[in-house]
């Protein structure tokens, strides 16, 4: 399979509908709230990433469709995690709460863009693995698990573009919130 066929496959994968079951209104722990706040910030960040990738004109054809779909995925994830915070009676962050800081060269080449995107997606994936096993409410655990499966698809495509090696660890590492925060904080501004 060449790179463009793989990108087309990735696009098809991310275009699959992601219908989310209604979330239970239950007692949400403070740890759950922390994961949801982190997740919303990262999803806004990645939505911004795909928007900038598209605007920079670095992807064309099926790859462009894939990036468009990935952006839509991130927006849908935001909506789902927002529900978690609303259920918990917490205030919900909006995109304007963040001033994303992209290094100057990030969107000057597809390779640089893919590398930055892969770094963030890998971090998000690691944090969602931790969330999927530690969140107190089952439906929220399921939400994180489904979102992490989607992010893993994004990561595979970006890693393929950045390094030519889409398949990595058999067991991607789980990341605690503190470690994950340290990795994405430079982009969150």
């Amino acid at each position: 399979m060449n790179r463009s066929r793989f990108l087309a496959g990735g696009a098809a994968a991310v275009l699959l509908p992601t219908t989310l079951a209604p979330l239970a209104r239950a007692d949400v722990s403070e740890g759950d709230v922390a994961y949801a706040n982190f997740a919303i910030a990262c999803e806004f960040l990645m939505a911004d990433y795909y928007a900038r990738l598209l605007k920079a004109g670095l992807v064309h054809g099926s790859a462009r469709s894939g990036a468009t779909a990935a952006r839509r995925n991130e927006v849908e994830h935001v909506k789902a995690f927002t529900t978690l915070l609303t259920d918990a009676g917490q205030s919900v962050p909006v995109a304007d709460d963040f001033a994303f800081a992209w290094p100057a060269k990030t969107f000057r080449s597809l390779g640089a863009a893919a590398e930055a995107g892969a770094t963030i997606e890998a971090t998000v994936l690691g944090a969602y693995i931790s969330a999927a096993v530690s969140i107190s409410v089952e439906s929220y655990r399921s939400l994180f698990a489904r979102a992490l499966a989607d992010e893993a698809r994004h990561l595979a495509v970006l890693t393929w573009v950045a390094s030519g090696k889409p398949v990595g660890n058999s067991f991607p590492p789980a990341l605690g919130l503190e470690e994950a925060t340290n990795l994405v904080e430079p982009y969150l501004g």
Binding site: E30, G31, F38, I40, C42, E178, T181, E185
Partner: protein, 241 residues
Amino acid sequence: MVKRLVLAAVLVCLLAAPAGAREGAPRLTIFAAASLTEAFQRFDSAEAYSFAGSNTLAAQIKQGARVDVFASASPQYTQDLFRAGLVEKPVTFATNRLVLIVPKSNPAGLTSVYDLARKNVKLVVAAPAVPVGAYTRTVLRKLGLSSVLAKVVSQESDVKSVVGKVALGQADAGFVYVTDVKPVAGDVASIRIPAWAQPRVRYEIAVVRSSSQKAAARTWTTRVRGKTGQAALVRAGFGKP
């Protein structure tokens, strides 16, 4: 020669007038959040300021204090006074962010906000009714670290008291606004709070309805929101509304 004398006289007048002074006009009385102390005094040193916790100042306005302008670190207090008919419609004029400060010597060895949960620390925060105290609790809740409130050794009435306690080494750490660090940069070090855990800190300003100088007060609030006011606030580290 005459031209030189006139020029010299003009220069003397300009230098003698305090920054931002309104010539011949009585001074405005301005109640402002403690965190605005340096920024407002640098922006306009001619007015009469009272800096304190926004909750305290709002309570004084409710009790009939003679004030022209109220600048609050939280919309909660300006909106409350607006609903009570005590101030004109409040307007947002600045934003801010929170940071954790430690004494320069950092005796507890803190490097991350998460260290508050791991280490035995003496934490100082503002009381919950004070805007920075409420924001502190929001940050801790967002981080999943509310349990560290058990380590609080002192609850202060305004942000400058929190800064003072940490700067003097009476506490290992305290939550303050990022704008509070600059004036005590020699005494404290700051530890960043993740962007995703930051509360939405908005400052609002309003003319007090009982003011005897409403026109001048309105002009002043317009100046704060104008180019020079915003430049002074940005220089002090505040964000734009």
